[in-house]
């Protein structure tokens, strides 16, 4: 028996589903708008790839941070320490495998880089677990204390890194197969930037798959919107948060390796410097939104590279300017999460 089959206007009316694609269009619009400003097409191609590569690395690092905020409203200003840790671990692993990284063989290069990435992710994830348990857990729901204690945690972490690896910058040369450029007509694109784009896309695809195709992803997306309801349905949001925090820390470690190779130098301060970009990205994207974080990262990467070429002085504050413009247009970011 159907108890509620009476047709009513309210039941029949539903707005047509129109995905919000406008933020997606920002990327091609920005890139196309830069062509006449840059002047040379080959230079534009080089800058665009550089921007996309930088954006992809930022996305890898920032994706965990935005989910951590979305799930538990935790502002982790200590995220940068996982980047630094990953990068320094890479110097140790790759330093011991110099024979492999200096080989002409791509396979040998990969067999050196992949363990370095795995070690960085493993250790950063483990340290992330301790960070969450010892530093963040006592200050759930206390934003001001979170900011203070996570910044303090990062300072302590960086000092510990200095104790282990020293306070000096350490070179992190690219493996031989990743050096140099590929030529597309007159445009030169650095091989490592292509690698960064491929790795970034792979991380985004994996994350997209988990979030949209698995129940775990469904729980994360639901938790970002209303964690109390997720608990009322019988799921332990605390465990989910720990898992996301560890995964986010591991991704920051991976991003640290990639950023270190991108810069070819590692310094104890690198995490703190990137931290600023991370917060710009997750604010632009909409706090808690992975899709917004992806677009925000690419926008930041492109703007930094175009501005660096066109007006180096403007480049110093170009990303702040980008954030201001985006927030004037969409005060809650490009893809605000429908939070309760």
């Amino acid at each position: 028996m159907n108890a509620a089959t009476t047709s009513t206007p309210a039941l029949d009316a539903l707005p047509t589903v129109r995905p919000d694609r406008i933020p997606l269009l920002l990327l091609p619009v920005l890139a196309l708008a830069a062509i006449p400003l840059v002047g040379s097409f080959s230079t534009w191609v080089t800058l665009t790839f550089a921007g996309l590569a930088m954006g992809m690395i930022i996305f890898i690092i920032a994706s965990g941070l935005t989910l951590v905020f979305g799930l538990m409203d935790v502002l982790n200003f200590g995220h940068g320490v996982f980047i630094t840790l990953g990068a320094f671990l890479a110097t140790s692993v790759l330093g011991r495998m110099a024979g492999w990284t200096e080989s002409e063989s791509l396979a040998r290069n990969l067999l050196a880089v992949l363990p370095a990435m795995a070690a960085a992710m493993l250790v950063a994830g483990g340290v992330g677990l301790a960070f969450e348990r010892l530093i963040i857990r006592p200050v759930y729901g206390q934003p001001l204390k979170q900011i203070m204690i996570t910044m303090g945690g990062m300072i302590v972490g960086v000092e510990l890194i200095k104790v282990i690896w020293g306070a000096q910058a350490i070179p992190l040369p690219l493996p031989v197969a990743f050096r140099g450029s590929l030529l597309f007509g007159e445009a030169a694109v650095e091989k490592y930037r292509l690698v960064s784009v491929v790795v970034g896309l792979a991380v985004f695809a994996a994350m997209f798959w988990v979030l949209s195709r698995t129940k775990l992803g469904l729980l994360i997306r639901a938790g970002v919107q209303d964690r109390e309801m997720v608990e009322s349905l019988g799921y332990r949001i605390g465990r989910l948060f720990i898992g996301v925090f560890v995964a986010g820390s591991a991704l920051a470690g991976l991003g640290g390796v990639m950023w270190g190779l991108y810069q070819q130098t590692v310094t104890p301060e690198m995490g703190g410097q990137i931290n600023v970009l991370l917060f710009i990205v997750i604010i632009i994207g909409g706090m808690g939104s992975v899709g917004g974080c992806f677009i925000g990262s690419l926008l930041v990467g492109l703007v930094a590279n175009y501005a660096g070429f066109l007006a180096p002085k403007v480049a110093l504050f170009s990303n702040i300017l980008l954030m201001v413009i985006v927030l004037m247009w969409r005060p809650e970011g490009l893809y605000p999460v429908g939070k309760r």
Binding site: A10, V17, K215, A222, M229, L233, G234, Y235, R236, V337
Partner: protein
């Protein structure tokens, strides 16, 4: 007479510095629909949230199906067989109707794992959900969201449903749909504790009634007795049923 499915004895709840529940004593019989009535601020929502562990009791006992649940976490309470529909419905607006239902079906990893017969039964109760299965839940109307909220609570068998003001803000036609759906739900012997302010809605469904005021239960008995006694309605609720018809 069998033991009540849910029993609260002298439950006190504090939220920060505020003392909200002042010794709530309440019994919910198995297979019956008990309505919790009371004015705004009487403590009805706090009672449901305390049972669910969202605002833990500061003292008193909460027994469910023979076991003490007052010290359990919200997910543990849900696993004991209690489903909760909050006043704001708790819909995940960015997820589709399908995804909302899949989350509520704890035992299912995919929609295909949900008991098909039960899903059909839910669609029978709330046909709109089938029609808008792939739509983002945030786009549903208020009535449709309420239907989804209740549907989530019953997609898997639960011993007790806690439902907070299901008629709030709904158009009269939708309220009639909800009443029809709850009547069918009652036929399945599901135990329900329903918080309501709409007395006309409540009296059509309730087997038992408890009235709250000032964080305490001030009256408990059969709904028929309260519905038939205008003087009692006036004294407890400050209204008469006639005024609501």
């Amino acid at each position: 007479m069998s033991a009540p499915l849910l029993q609260l004895d002298g439950v006190h709840t504090h939220i920060g510095a505020y003392h909200i529940l002042h010794g709530v004593d309440l019994q919910v019989a198995r297979g019956e629909l008990t309505v919790l009535l009371g004015r705004n601020g009487a403590g009805k929502t706090t009672t449901l949230r305390t049972i669910m562990g969202l605002w833990p009791a500061s003292s008193g006992a909460i027994r469910f199906d023979g076991g003490e649940i007052g010290a359990l976490s919200t997910p543990e309470i849900a696993h004991r067989g209690i489903a909760y529909v909050p006043e704001n419905m708790g819909i995940f607006g960015d997820l589709t109707v399908r995804e909302n239902m899949l989350l509520a079906a704890r035992g299912a990893k995919r929609v295909e794992d949900i008991d098909a017969a039960r899903l059909d039964w839910v669609f029978g109760l709330f046909p709109a959900l089938k029609r808008f299965w792939q739509h983002p839940a945030g786009l549903l109307s208020g009535g449709q969201k309420q239907m989804l909220a209740v549907a989530r609570a019953i997609i898997e068998p639960r011993q007790l449903l806690l439902i907070d003001e299901p008629s709030k803000g709904l158009a009269p036609a939708i309220i009639q749909n909800m009443i029809a759906a709850f009547r069918e739900l009652k036929q399945t012997d599901t135990t329900i504790l329903l918080v309501e302010q709409n007395f006309n809605f409540a009296r059509q469904l309730g087997d038992k009634v408890a009235v709250m005021d000032g964080g305490r239960i001030v009256h408990a008995g059969a709904m028929a007795d309260l519905a038939g006694d205008e003087g009692l309605q006036q004294r407890l609720l400050g209204l008469s049923l006639a005024a609501h018809q």
